[in-house]
Amino acid sequence: MSTTGTLEYTPKDYKSDLKPIWCPGCGDFSVVQGIYRALAAIGRPPHEIAFVSGIGCSSRIPGYTTAYGFNSVHGRALPIAQGIKLANPDLLVLAAGGDGDGFSIGGGHIAHLIRRNMDITYIVMDNQIYGLTKGQLSPTSQKGRVTCTSRFGSLENPVNPLLYVLAYGAGFVAQASPTDLAGMAAVIEEAIRYPGFAFVNIQSPCVTYGEEGQQIKGLKAISESLAGLGHNPADRLAAMDLAQHYGEKMHLGVFYRNPEPPPTYGDLVKERQALLSKDALPKERILDLFIKK
């Protein structure tokens, strides 16, 4: 992402007048704060930012910013974000949503965005539950979890979002949590600055349907800083090793940052457009393509 802000922005320049629908104490309040801070640090004016989401509690988030927002349909933030980025590569494009939106109904899209390496930052607010529909099992719920759709305990293993994106080759993978707001803002900023697809998983507690161990106190107890562990974020295999502990430990910080970012999809599109533009017939003569001599 080009980051040539000339004006000074403060976090509140990115805060809209809409009042969040979230429950008091919801982790997503911290996430939106983290996003305000990261955007202010980067300094792109709000109208040059497109912020796309799907459906769910956390997918309301674009409306709470002053960017161009798109609160779309369930699971489809990423396709829409890609269309926006391809239509106007100069925009800063953010996508966000919950674990159900991203890894269940929309799970098929992530792999393809990663292999295209478009310069889009994707923030998942992972709370291991469907909150908006009042407490059903989610793709990151632990096996055995009792919810209103799993009265006798879940029979399924959870998705591991970190391993998922690492395995597909994401160039930037990080995890954050409201337990460390400054760290979260820094990680989001770094993700946006990374030139290519960047993924941030945020452990964002659901105060209404979440289990006790998943609240701030519980998360703090299992949190561990990757920097503190001396993890080298250029080491993808080490990142995958650490990511295996998703669900047991909460590692915070950057798991993986490709030290030599390859060209993004947008770069390649620009190259192709430049290469082929000389072959363009004027549009009004496009039917000449069909002349048989």
Binding site: G69, P79, I84, L91, H112, D279, I286, L289
Partner: protein, 596 residues
């Protein structure tokens, strides 16, 4: 001399039947004829049966024609699989492969005695002259040149160009095969000569293309800069055209991971301010319908091409049908109006696609172009089109005062609100699938929902006055009227000409705008009508039912509907018109009886 000839040829996949059809069409175009070529296949990946129809005429052509004048069967098994798509009559000359071993008086066509039947040792001639049976299709072209006077020079000129890179030897082998076919024809003249008159536009520039390529070219002409889609027969060539060309115009194309992502990316590109498009067929339409609802409520311009095939589900993936009409009009959830346009030919899909973009941009709405397999894959020769006659409409954007306290969904007199896009200073807003107030902020309010539903439906009222999206031909006061759209319209146009020539008092309405239903146009049309037919290629008579939802059709107006892959022929329609006429006469006689 004839002015018109319809060829139908069938063989197995490797026989090169379709490539022979291509060569014939191109040669005919080079000789100044008008031509239409349709292809039909089994759904095998390779091999299996394949066929084509080529119609050649000295005057513009409205459809692929009725019964064949010339049938070519490289083997009977494959030919017969096409049934009603390759109808043989008493006026047909049948040419077939002698190696089938079937005597000329025992060919397996039930209930018909063709004009003439000729067994030709096509494979043997190919082997003898070109050293390989693969030249069978070139022998057939030589036979056609000899018997029907088409392509004597132009066919080989085309083949020579096509094979130039493959070496002189192959070109010479084909020349020998062609000459052998032609010589055979000369030595065995037809009982009745069937030569086509020389075209008076010989030497004029002609375009040759099919409906899918024409649709994509029209989109790029209209300013479309983004295509998102997923491969599906028979629409895929639209995406292929974009991958070949859109980059040159600063645009992009995304072959997405699925149908939903394809339309999703197109929705995103439109939100970002670019004209965008997706294309699919029936099963893809089902997958895209949630996104269509999103584009309607977020009021985003978008063009969706549905190239119809036989359905439901996989249905008849390589055959044409018109049975997605209900899906096009109604498949989104909620109360929503989504304009549906239908082209009737390769020539007019250019105009209709441009219209689709204009309507999408003006009304800020998804628009469906309801094409069909026949239009999509049939090739037509066309006279050059003057593109300067087409006006291009772009979405209305906020300026000056609009951007002070900008309201994206502002109520206006015509219910259309200036639309901003990311990058525009002062225009930021929240686009959403959730109901929203004028600013775009989410709401649950029933009264707002009512007002916004009003806005999103009333804005389309002027569309129903677009008389230029309807075509009425024949006698304007006729008591007999028929309605047809899409590829069936071309058949009905020809039938109408035939009926008028016979002195029948009839008329035809061809709607290019199928939805919203323009009640006024139909009421005007039916004002004089006592007997009529609503004709479509569906099993449920969808067009008849759609019209009856909106219009009090005269009692004597009935459906004439038929499932896909059973094409209507002009003669079918003329026969139907005759029975309407006798019904009408009978009812008039009835009216003469003393009444209470």
């Amino acid at each position: 001399m004839r002015k018109d000839l319809v060829f139908g040829m069938a063989g197995s996949g490797g026989d090169g039947i379709v490539s022979a059809g291509d060569s014939l069409l191109q040669a005919a175009a080079a000789e100044g004829y008008h031509g239409v070529m349709t292809k039909s296949f089994g759904s095998q990946i390779r091999g299996g049966e394949s066929s084509c129809r080529v119609r050649i005429s000295t005057t513009p052509i409205l459809n692929p024609g009725g019964n064949l004048d010339v049938a070519v069967a490289l083997n009977w098994e494959d030919f017969l699989k096409f049934g009603a798509e390759l109808p043989v009559s008493g006026n047909t000359v049948v040419i077939y492969e002698a190696a089938t071993g079937i005597p000329e008086d025992q060919i397996p066509l039930v209930g018909v005695t063709p004009l003439q039947v000729i067994a030709v040792p096509i494979a043997a001639m190919a082997k003898e002259t070109a050293g390989t049976e693969r030249a069978k299709n070139t022998v057939v072209l030589g036979l056609i040149a000899g018997w029907f006077g088409i392509g004597a020079v132009a066919v080989m000129k085309g083949i020579r160009k096509k094979l130039a890179k493959k070496g002189e030897e192959l070109v010479d082998a084909n020349q020998r095969a062609f000459d052998a076919g032609r010589a055979f024809a000369m030595e065995h003249p037809l009982k009745t000569s069937m030569n086509v008159a020389v075209s008076d536009t010989k030497g004029a520039v002609k375009l040759i293309t099919d409906g899918n390529d024409m649709c994509a070219a029209a989109a790029i002409f209209a300013g479309c800069q983004f295509f998102g889609g997923y491969p599906i027969t028979p629409s895929t060539e639209i995406m292929q055209f974009f991958t070949d060309h859109v980059w040159k115009y600063g645009g992009a194309v995304l072959q997405a991971e699925d149908e939903i992502a394809g339309i999703g990316a197109a929705v995103g590109a439109s939100f970002a301010g670019k004209k965008s498009m997706t294309a699919t067929s029936g099963p893809g339409m089902s997958l895209k319908s949630e996104m269509m609802g999103l584009a309607s409520i977020a009021e985003l311009p978008l063009v969706i091409v549905d190239v119809q095939r036989g359905g439901p589900s996989t249905g008849l993936p390589t055959k044409t049908e018109q049975s997605d009409l209900f899906a096009a009009a109604f498949s989104a959830h909620g109360d929503v109006i989504r304009p549906v346009l239908a082209p009737t030919s390769v020539a007019d899909i250019f105009r209709i696609t441009i219209e689709a973009f204009n309507i999408a941009e003006y009304y800020q709405t998804p628009v469906i172009v309801l094409s069909d397999q026949e239009i999509a894959s049939r090739k037509e020769t066309l006279d050059p089109i003057d593109t300067s006659q087409f006006k291009i409409i772009n979405r209305v954007q906020p300026v000056g005062a609009d951007l002070q306290d900008y309201k994206r969904f502002k109520q206006t007199e015509n219910h259309i609100s200036p639309i901003s896009h990311p990058g525009m200073l002062g225009g930021t807003y929240l686009a959403s699938g959730i109901e929203h107030v004028e600013s775009g902020a989410p709401t649950n309010s029933g009264s707002v929902h009512q007002r916004m539903n009003d806005k999103r439906t009333k804005k389309f009222e002027p569309l129903k006055d677009r008389k230029d999206l309807f075509e009425v031909t024949g006698n304007p006061h006729a008591p007999i009227g028929i309605v047809a759209w899409g590829s069936v319209a071309g058949v009905c146009r020809e039938a109408l000409d035939m009926a008028l020539a016979e002195g029948l008092n009839v008329k035809l309405l061809v709607p290019y705008l199928l939805y919203p239903v323009a009640e006024g146009v139909y009421n005007d049309f039916f004002a004089s009508v006592q007997k009529g037919l609503i004709i479509d290629q569906t099993h449920l008579a969808q067009t008849f039912k759609l019209l009856r939802m909106h219009i009090d059709l005269p009692k004597g107006v009935k459906p004439l509907a038929r499932s896909g892959a059973n094409p209507f022929l002009p003669s079918d329609i003329v026969a139907a018109l005759h029975s309407l006429l006798s019904e009408l006469q009978r009812s008039h006689e009835g009216n003469l009886q003393p009444q209470e």
